[in-house]
Amino acid sequence: MIKGLQIEARQSYAFVARNFNLVKRYWGWEVVWLAYSIANALSVTFIGAGAGVITGQTDINTNFLITYLLIGTLVWHFLSGIFNVISEMIAWERWEGTIEYTLMAPTRRYTQIFGQAAFAVVYILLFTATIGLVVSSFFDLDFSDADLPGAVIILLAGSLSFVGIGVVASILPLLYPERGAQMTNIVQALFLLVSGVYYPVSVLPEWLQTVSKISPATYVLAGMRAALLPGTSDQSLMSYVWPLLLMGVVMLPLGIYLFQRAERYTKRTGKLKRNG
């Protein structure tokens, strides 16, 4: 039993170590991506700083607006980062040509996904925290009333459901070697549109508001704003946590099940190898 767990832990760690090694070897791209992400976050938050100038109104609480947009951009960076790392686990291997070797190994899919998810959460959290620290240094923001432990709980609960969605999306590069990776970007774009990243969901057309209810990002963003911007919500934090946990509990096993079905299909049709 203990030996079995030790082996599974090593197998999961294989993905964590491999991914950190890839980050180390592609450090140039990481620096570029970090610089781009910081510039992007600053560009969005400066919209809040310039709101008064843009609208000609002097009584706008710009600090509130900056914080609102900063939470949106950081939370979205975190969730989309996790989604990308998980959904691209197959696309990476296709690009590198290692997919057959990895899928031939006696590693269970949940072990693989656990390792990939552990890396994603740690790495993207560090990345997002760096962006947050740099962007915050440009403004005089006050988080003294923020519920930081509550924010962490919301973020972790949101990670669970986004890992599940990422696993479902990773099926696309498995089934469609040529276009699967691009398809995952469409899924991500839909979440960006409906989840209220930079605006309240209430400004969306009614049918999009209905769609937003099935996006876990909607609850993460609303929950994070409730935790970090006191007074923006009259709901308890748990009212955001429960839907996220429920979605995670459904999406994660569903994702693993669908992934296994898709893997079996590719083995029947010869799609693991691009050229049949």
Binding site: R18, M104, A105, P106
Partner: protein, 327 residues
């Protein structure tokens, strides 16, 4: 390289992953296996005109592991492996020869659980590759003709990743990897440099080391020495022999190198258009062709049975049509 694998002669064999293997069970049984694929579509006019239609290959019965595919619209069904049966005994080095596109790599993928047979059964030490997939995965490893690695990572990083996937600790894998690579003639300094800076031959040696690291009891080698210089080929061949002689591994190897097949293999199957056209020891295969002024070689057997010439990469590179046309 040390191993915990018991001697084959013992009544029960235990692998490093604690799988019990029944005594007397052959290493590999391939029983009436078929594999067919839908491949690129024909031009529309060929589909419209009955005379222009391509044949869809032989019909495979739809039972056993049974997912006999149907030709999809605009696609053609091609039979890559066609009613193939053979048995490989423990500690045997079994060669599979065949021209390009004869189904060798598809067969290796079927054995390594990367493809599911449309029909028939494959058993590795008694475990079915479909029903007991995880057990089979623990017993095998494969070296493919393309050295598939994360090219930015070093051999060390790639090998540790590969070994951990099989549950081997990083420390143990690191020690063994250094030993094996030294044995295969790879410089110590290359161990931590990115794979992309290495020659094709060096990458292939790392691929071989990766497979050996997990101590497979059945090793599948798909053209492992392609791209290696003569000295490296000999080093790999000697290592393959050592694996069998010292570590009791069973080896299935595909190759285009007839001399290699002759030197290494106890028995050889010749595959053509997905079918086995001959299966015997190298000596007996050579008896199938007549003396043509010289002792028959495996190359003679190959050409006689497959009706194809051996076309090597070097031949293609040396091919200069303008000189031929100029006489």
């Amino acid at each position: 390289m040390s191993t915990k694998i018991d001697q084959v002669s013992t009544s029960k064999r235990t692998t490093s992953t604690h799988l019990r293997i029944a005594p007397g069970e052959p290493a590999l049984v391939v029983d009436r296996v078929y594999k067919r694929f839908n491949v690129a579509s024909e031009p529309w006019w060929r589909r419209v005109l009955p005379l222009g239609r391509a044949q869809n290959g032989t019909e495979a019965p739809a039972n056993g592991n049974g997912h006999a595919p149907k030709a999809r619209r605009g696609k053609e069904l091609v039979t890559a492996v066609n009613d193939v049966s053979f048995t490989v005994e423990r500690r045997e080095i079994f060669g599979v020869l065949g021209p390009n596109g004869s189904g060798k790599s598809t067969l290796i993928r079927l054995l390594s659980t990367l493809l599911v047979p449309d029909d028939g059964h494959i058993r590795v030490f008694g475990f079915d590759v479909v029903k007991d997939e995880m057990q089979v995965k623990r017993l095998i490893n494969r070296v493919s003709v393309e050295a598939a690695f994360f090219k930015k990572l070093s051999p060390r990083e790639n090998l540790l990743y590969g070994a951990r996937l099989y549950g081997v600790s990083g420390k143990e894998a690191d020690r063994k990897a250094r030993e094996i690579l030294k044995r295969l003639g790879l410089k110590e300094s290359s161990y931590t440099a990115p794979m992309e800076d290495m020659s094709r031959g060096m990458q292939q040696k790392v691929a071989i080391a990766r497979a050996f690291l997990t101590q497979p009891v059945l090793l599948l080698l798909d053209e492992p020495t392609t791209g290696l210089d003569p000295r490296s080929k000999l080093e790999v061949q000697s290592f393959v022999n050592e694996l069998r002689d010292v570590h009791d591994a069973t080896i299935l190897i595909t190759t285009h190198d007839m001399n290699e097949a002759d030197a290494l293999c106890d028995r050889i199957a010749i595959l053509d258009d997905g079918k086995i056209v001959a299966l015997d020891t190298p000596e007996n295969l050579k008896k199938l062709v007549g003396r043509n002024g010289h002792e028959p070689t495996l190359e003679d057997v190959f050409m006689e049975l497959t009706g194809k010439e051996l076309v090597e990469k070097d031949d293609v590179e040396d091919y200069q049509p303008e000189k031929i046309l100029a006489g």
